[in-house]
Symmetry: D2
Subunit: 332 residues, 4 copies
Amino acid sequence: MQRFALIGAGFIGAVHARNLAADPGVDLRLVADLDPARADAVAAAHGARGTTDLDAVFDRDEIDAVLIASSTDTHASNLRRAAAAGIAALVEKPIDLDLDRAREVVREVEAADIPAMVDFNRRFDRDHAALRRIVADGGIGELQLLQLTSRGPELPPIDYLRVSGGQMRDQAVHFFDLARWIADEEVVEVHAMGSALADPRVAEVGDVDTSSTTLRLASGAIVQIDCLRCTGYGYDERIEAAGSAGLVESARMRSGGVTRFAGTRAEADGLHAGWFERVQPTYAAALRSFVEALETGSPVGATLRDGLAAQAIAEAATRSLASGRTEPVVHD
Amino acid sequence: MQRFALIGAGFIGAVHARNLAADPGVDLRLVADLDPARADAVAAAHGARGTTDLDAVFDRDEIDAVLIASSTDTHASNLRRAAAAGIAALVEKPIDLDLDRAREVVREVEAADIPAMVDFNRRFDRDHAALRRIVADGGIGELQLLQLTSRGPELPPIDYLRVSGGQMRDQAVHFFDLARWIADEEVVEVHAMGSALADPRVAEVGDVDTSSTTLRLASGAIVQIDCLRCTGYGYDERIEAAGSAGLVESARMRSGGVTRFAGTRAEADGLHAGWFERVQPTYAAALRSFVEALETGSPVGATLRDGLAAQAIAEAATRSLASGRTEPVVHD
Amino acid sequence: MQRFALIGAGFIGAVHARNLAADPGVDLRLVADLDPARADAVAAAHGARGTTDLDAVFDRDEIDAVLIASSTDTHASNLRRAAAAGIAALVEKPIDLDLDRAREVVREVEAADIPAMVDFNRRFDRDHAALRRIVADGGIGELQLLQLTSRGPELPPIDYLRVSGGQMRDQAVHFFDLARWIADEEVVEVHAMGSALADPRVAEVGDVDTSSTTLRLASGAIVQIDCLRCTGYGYDERIEAAGSAGLVESARMRSGGVTRFAGTRAEADGLHAGWFERVQPTYAAALRSFVEALETGSPVGATLRDGLAAQAIAEAATRSLASGRTEPVVHD
Amino acid sequence: MQRFALIGAGFIGAVHARNLAADPGVDLRLVADLDPARADAVAAAHGARGTTDLDAVFDRDEIDAVLIASSTDTHASNLRRAAAAGIAALVEKPIDLDLDRAREVVREVEAADIPAMVDFNRRFDRDHAALRRIVADGGIGELQLLQLTSRGPELPPIDYLRVSGGQMRDQAVHFFDLARWIADEEVVEVHAMGSALADPRVAEVGDVDTSSTTLRLASGAIVQIDCLRCTGYGYDERIEAAGSAGLVESARMRSGGVTRFAGTRAEADGLHAGWFERVQPTYAAALRSFVEALETGSPVGATLRDGLAAQAIAEAATRSLASGRTEPVVHD
């Protein structure tokens, strides 16, 4: 059993707590949060102890692994402390919104040689993972075009957008990672075009809510990513990979299987209302994979280097939004 | 080029006329109808001659084949005349509503040895035919269950129902034929249960509009056929065949491929409004097959014996509706 | 918190134990089984106590409710003990394979006035329940035809079939219940036709593995139920309800959402391999509903009378399999 | 009846000839081609006269309208002659590969005030047209993202690619037109990224076979178009329009409705093998629309100005492929 501490007891922290409690290989010991009531509440629901004291978290005698789900600006320092203490870490993306600082932290973690994984949970979506296996097994021949859709459902609060780093770093970055992971090759250059259509305040904070990003991979294959911050039809995520010998699609997921036919129309269950309903199972699956890596010493499902690579694409895409030019991706 | 005469210039006669005119192997010469204006109108649209004179139709020097689309009570006599004249015949089902009379006619036609085919057009549905090939090729292993759906869209006029022979002989008979054709074996016994739900006058004329018929095949495989005379959602036809190694489905056909997602719902194109829109291509395909049989001397796609067999099942099903018992199918 | 005891720690007992442990309104106290090791193992996984002593289970001071998942022949006696002790009971179907004995037990339970529910878990399938709401809300007008499919995936052991009561009582009974529940009316008469196709030993034990059952409801609406014991394509469950104003379908459920297009073919995820994968969420939902009924005093989701009614249909269907006749359903 | 002449009796000319012969408002008089045998063959199949003499075509006393399906480099001169003769014209795209020359011709045609239409046949696809109506009727709120897919199935001959003007002008141009037509607004700027992946000779002739093009509309809405010259899975065309209140999709079209389930997999009909099978009905529908415009004096379904606008986008996209920059669209 891996003894875990969880840092962060907000909405997603509570999700992680449930998954930690349910995972057969995890003994959830501590839940840390700046807010002691919140820490205690989440801890109590799963037989763990709440704390505000990070020294208790980074105590190698008591804790084997930490799940970092605290606010973005603390990811880097928590990773550093885990590295210093020799405690394994599963960290929410991004490592740090500042790519240079993120790179520095990764070097430290690598020097400390602790198991560390970025929680790119979409990699653990059952359908996306099946799509990737088909691509890897040659089921579509040579990859030509990869198309990823990430839409909605609702505009985050403007205050969040102000500090989010923008749509490329905050939303598209998951799909930059999926693109590298599915194609199993690096991104060479990027172009992004975006608009603020949902709310005029989006433009005021220098962001976009509707964008199309095009990537060129090393092989010449093209990747297309469309991102909407808000839709009128719930949360929509889908992937298509077209190659010389076929197409594979991880389809948009319906919330149910009921259809009513009346007159000349058919009415059916639409998409999930929220992103969380849609991707919920991926969090437990990502955790399971991390715990297996700890147990067996096998590689983690998404390394910190994967995290940096996705961020580097987001940087180039953010530059392209402003310049209108195709921008090179500067890897490390 | 096969020189054709068409008998019957009503709604379905006009459909046949268009298909005859378009078929590359057909020279449509005559359109015969009791109503001279109707005969002329349909004929003129396709460069043929209208007539009320059946002697002109059954003139072997001028005509190679006749398509009999006149009223049901004339099918038998027209088949007889075709046999006597040595003219090939494609006849709408049924051969005759009276099964004994139908058998007599078939014996005459067989004695005359003319090519003759019953227009069981559903056999020529692209999807149904593909399903049958998969069954025949062992794609589902040994057949266990065959399920056929025939629904709607609208109650025929009560005056038609009065002379139609009832839902088994008039509607289900197409699916009795499909069952024999897909399973490639004979029906041993039948049970039918039905109700008159759509209109009280249906019961008054001794008919039902909603029924479920169960057939046992010689192999023991079970066939389920559900028939509705009217629906609120257009015309619905589908087939499933389940076997020891799998299932094959010829799905209900949508009228289009557009879906709108809004809120948590999806709204899409439903079914075809009418049966004709759904099955239209099968008429031309059935004709094509008949003409090929004439050109090559190969067997026709559905023999008069097939017509008799389907009618024999309809007789047993009609008896079962009244008796509540499983009834044996009496072949010939 | 309702203090629960679970009787039966076999496969399905272990499923119930997990759901009891996870339900927010349940405090799982005891797990009873004839086999003490099995009782202890299941209990230990969820912080409960294992026992072989049913006196401990039926102790009203310690236990509020019992979940009866022991072997079929013990359902009745356990229900009786619950009634005598004044303990609420959730019981796996059937109440007793002998309908007369089942009726007697139900009268006793009703006299004792304990909350009691039959675990007709399919009623708690998200899609089936949505279909029922649409029917109840008039979304298809007047019900005309209800079609239920229950197929596979594998033949149970012959030794199980020998004591199962036959396909009608063991498999179809779930769908007899769904039919009553969806249509919200009683079944008047039944016809069943079946064959033993999967294995000759099925016939030797007097059972069938392939059947079509037709029910007539009080309104005249027709119900069609097809049951296969084994398929070559996993577990298949679907429902269609057609009415005067439309159709609603709870579609067969795919195991995933990935499709590969290559050449002229598309290959996709098929059905769930087993019935359990398909219906798993319904067990927790049924339990949740029972616990809510206990907490609020509201009616349970499926009464023991519902259990008797479904069994009465199964009796008539079993008679019909032998007689070939449409058989009346004899309600109490 | 509109008296038509057809110029061009190649593959697509023969398709047009069939549609002209079948259209109830058309009297097909002449089929002109440089190759007299080809002209005669196509003409004879439909009771028309073959000719190599364009003077006969542009004779206002004999001909009301001309369908220009000759080689691309003759479109402009044939349009000019139609304008000079006062004969209506339906012309295959493009008007001329040289946009300046195309503009000049359009001015001449407008001065002559003949009815003239570009054969943007995709506008007449049943599903695409339904999607557009839903967008126009506010069914998705304000348009945010429009996604168009145009893929395969096979690389055209390299000799054709050499003179085609490149993927933007030859393939994507249809979808530039659809984008303007669906969004009902103009394109402001364009970015295109492409690769030659299918065959090294594609790069040698300066073309790409795989591309992603992003357009910004006047409203700020974003359009994404992906084009593949060849696929391993037939011809794939689909459209999605996402807006503030929903999504509408014109889905990829399957060639049939049969699915086989076996084991844990489902195998179904894939896409149409060729583009022609997929879009065939659109040619007759476009013609029908043109003839109705001639009969009623109503506006044509796609003006020559629409043709110019789509070409202007293709010019900007072609520049962007080379420059890597977002390029402004220069309208007239």
